[in-house]
Symmetry: C3
Subunit: 350 residues, 3 copies
């Protein structure tokens, strides 16, 4: 399953240097790419890779065009990483296209569900009463779309996604296996040492072009809806609490937890394992480093971090022990400064 | 689907101020509630909300009765948040009652399973040999109840819950989609640089009135059982290791991990993303802040925290670098104090 | 279902002290073991347990043989914990053997799938085109094995595992319920404030004797494969990003997140809730403490930790506030040292 380099340029643009007949049998990382494989160099500062790679074809930025053309075939384009992303899509469509849509006879489809044209439904999927599936929607094996949910056109639910009642997904969404959208938010009123359940009467509304990773959970709202904006990308095993709002084109890496009613702006990123507490706001363009804990609202865009630096265990133990006395150390330091001042020894910045 | 305010008071009590005919079409947050919606004010210190809300009806504590009645209809009660929780349940029962129980013909039910009256079983559910389902139990689509498990009366398993062999769930439990109860605990003996599996011969026993969030996992015990007490509430994506014990009415937010053989007391709370290490104990009434790591037993009730404060990245980098020298800083401080003492300059607290 | 102690020794070896007819009805923790139960004492330093336990039989190391034999029946062996692991396996095989293999008529099996001998497939499982299941493979209810995946001999997939297209699992693997192998890795190119999907063209390759806990996710590679070595043990709710490599016999506890392209050596351990950032390497034999965040490559074996010590909340607040000024404290300390030096007061280590 090889394609000539020229076919790629015909489909995706860019300037071809070298023979359009150069065969491309695989997309590969530049470090391991072989003679009939294509790799990319994202930026001019990685120019050194051009000399060492064995890749038969390269995708390079204009600044590296001469260096790349000097060694073999290449495609010159403004943004090689973006080009590569589009190439990956083209490649999949060429080699591994979606199978022809069919409705598996083993699916359970309520007669009151409305199915668009070209809908694909896998074995043992369950489509509830009043569900609306847009044109070209694909529902994986064992997926459950509960009553009155709506799935926008060309969205795809992987195997055993649960998409809850009255929830809405926009167009071109991708939900990976095990995603749960619309389980109850975590709401209880304390009473006599026990908890009284607050029924979660809201739903989840998800915009267009959203991708949600495996086993990620997005809870339905208590009263209003939980809202995920257009273009949001969520990795695996993420927890989104009830009434959270995530602004458009924000992205979160695996294992993030966002507590209830947090509002995350547009074009934010949240690193893996970070925790965002509830009832706070992140401005647009806030970037949270992996494993950081957001305990307060952040009003200014920028990068924010809060992680205990890892160390060998013996050193960590010493520093951690000192940390528990840090406030006392600070007081001792102040006393010294005062004593030196009294003794007329200056310890101030000159 | 509107209800008159008087019907709410008839059902749930409280003192009505204003017209019992006031229409209520939705429960709403106070900030966005409209003229035919009802909201609550939990405490007197939120009195200011009464003046600004557009809510047609309010639920308020006695201290706010006059202020609320002065602007429109209201229900006066001792604990508005609790009242609101009960109202949410009543509202759901009115507008969205559970459908009539039925056994889907596409479910796989072992002839040796025992089903109480009024049991509901969804499509493609699997009920194993020797399973006992109490009266009014509801089993969602694709849920799997393995051999000899017991589900107490009126408990509800969401779609694709897996409830393991010989495990027990009490009455009125709610298990959300993707919950796994009774997978093997993580136990291996090291041998020659590899791991030898320890079969997990215990089960999981869960009390009454327990709610478990989507994709949460509770492992079976190695020898004895893992035990979850009455009234415990677990949010989504929580991991409970083998032989953990969770005391009654404790609650944990999303993404918490509790390692094997930890014993958590009654009426504890564990914030989202916190980690509790194995083989330790938390007393009753211990509250762990979100994302904290419990590395030792805690014998006294109270609030406990251990989180690196988030900061803008540049400041964090400087402080984190200093943190790795903290113990050295402490030693330098001590040397200064000794030097000052030798020089007869007092740096002690006066 | 009792077994004589002699039968255990016949099957598993060790030196029997006392009557081979001593009945054993259960394996039990030493603290709660009763007269017809067997428990183990792992090491000589736990000798005190021998005097207090009510266990009818004990498994002990040679150093404790006399003490144990003096109180009742025992098995003497070099490694009681390992012996106990093997006993747990023998016990399960005796009391709770795997049921006879059968192919459930409610499974959906593509005619182009290849099934070895003695394969067991549960109800509603889905086996795709070109799948290869080795001899003795067991596929749980609702498990989905996608096109062209290969499952090695005697491997077992629990209920509703999703095992992705073209992915490979070795022999004797155990995948617990809800595992997702082969969902897309999290890869996007930024473009005009949005994200362009990078199709994930690699797969996941998993070695022999691997165990994977409930709801854990292992993403497929972007170009090359994600690789899990022989003998690796992963607990529940773990996220393994695309193109991660995990060396043989490494083990990770629950809730760990490993970001894309991280390379973890052989015989490493990663404690629960730890986060390993992407594109870094851990040498063989690196041990990461629970909840630590690995932000850099680690080249030397050893134990590494980075956790904020938990404290009562009031003390934590003071120390956390001081921590945000730590770098400034360090500068103040330096100024004091300089001032003392100028005043000819020595604060250096004598």
């Amino acid at each position: 399953m090889s394609r000539p380099l020229g076919a790629i340029v015909d489909a995706l643009g860019g300037r071809l240097e070298g023979s359009p007949e150069t065969p491309v049998s695989r997309l590969a990382p530049i470090a391991s790419a072989g003679p009939d494989e294509i790799a990319f160099v994202a930026q001019a500062r990685y120019a050194g890779q051009i000399q060492t790679t064995r890749a038969g074809s390269l995708i390079v930025p204009p600044a590296l065009a001469d260096a790349a053309a000097g060694r073999g075939a290449c495609i010159v384009c403004d943004d090689p990483y973006l080009y590569f992303a589009r190439l990956s899509q083209w490649w999949r469509a060429q080699h591994d296209p979606l199978p022809k849509a069919r409705i598996d006879p083993l699916a359970s489809i309520h007669p009151g569900a409305v199915l668009g044209s070209g809908v694909d439904i896998g074995p043992f999927a369950v489509i509830g009463e009043g569900v609306h599936l847009g044109d070209g929607v694909r529902i994986g094996a064992h997926a459950v779309v509960e009553e009155h949910a709506r799935i926008g056109e060309f969205s795809r639910l992987g195997p055993r996604v649960v998409f809850g009642r009255h929830c809405v997904l926009g167009a071109r969404g991708i939900l990976h296996p095990g995603v749960v959208v619309g389980a109850d938010g975590f709401g209880f009123a304390p009473h006599d040492g026990a908890w009284v359940k607050i029924e979660q009467l809201g739903a989840v509304r998800i915009g267009d072009d959203v991708e949600i990773g495996a086993n990620t959970c997005i809870d339905r709202g208590a009263l209003d809806d939980t809202v995920i904006g257009d273009g949001v990308k969520l990795d695996n095993l993420i927890q989104i609490g009830h009434n959270v709002q995530v602004g458009e084109h924000s992205a979160m890496a695996g294992c993030v937890g966002v507590a209830g009613s947090a509002h995350i702006g547009a074009r934010c990123t949240v690193g893996g394992g970070a925790i965002v507490l509830g009832h706070l706001s992140l401005a647009d363009g806030v970037h949270i480093s992996a494993a950081s804990v957001v305990t307060r609202s952040i009003r200014q865009p920028g990068q924010y971090t809060g992680v205990f630096p890892i160390d060998d265990n013996a050193d960590w133990e010493k520093n951690a022990a000192s940390l528990k006395q840090l406030n006392r150390l600070r007081e001792r330091l102040k006393l010294i400064e005062q004593a030196l001042a009294a003794a007329q020894i200056s310890s101030k910045t000159p």
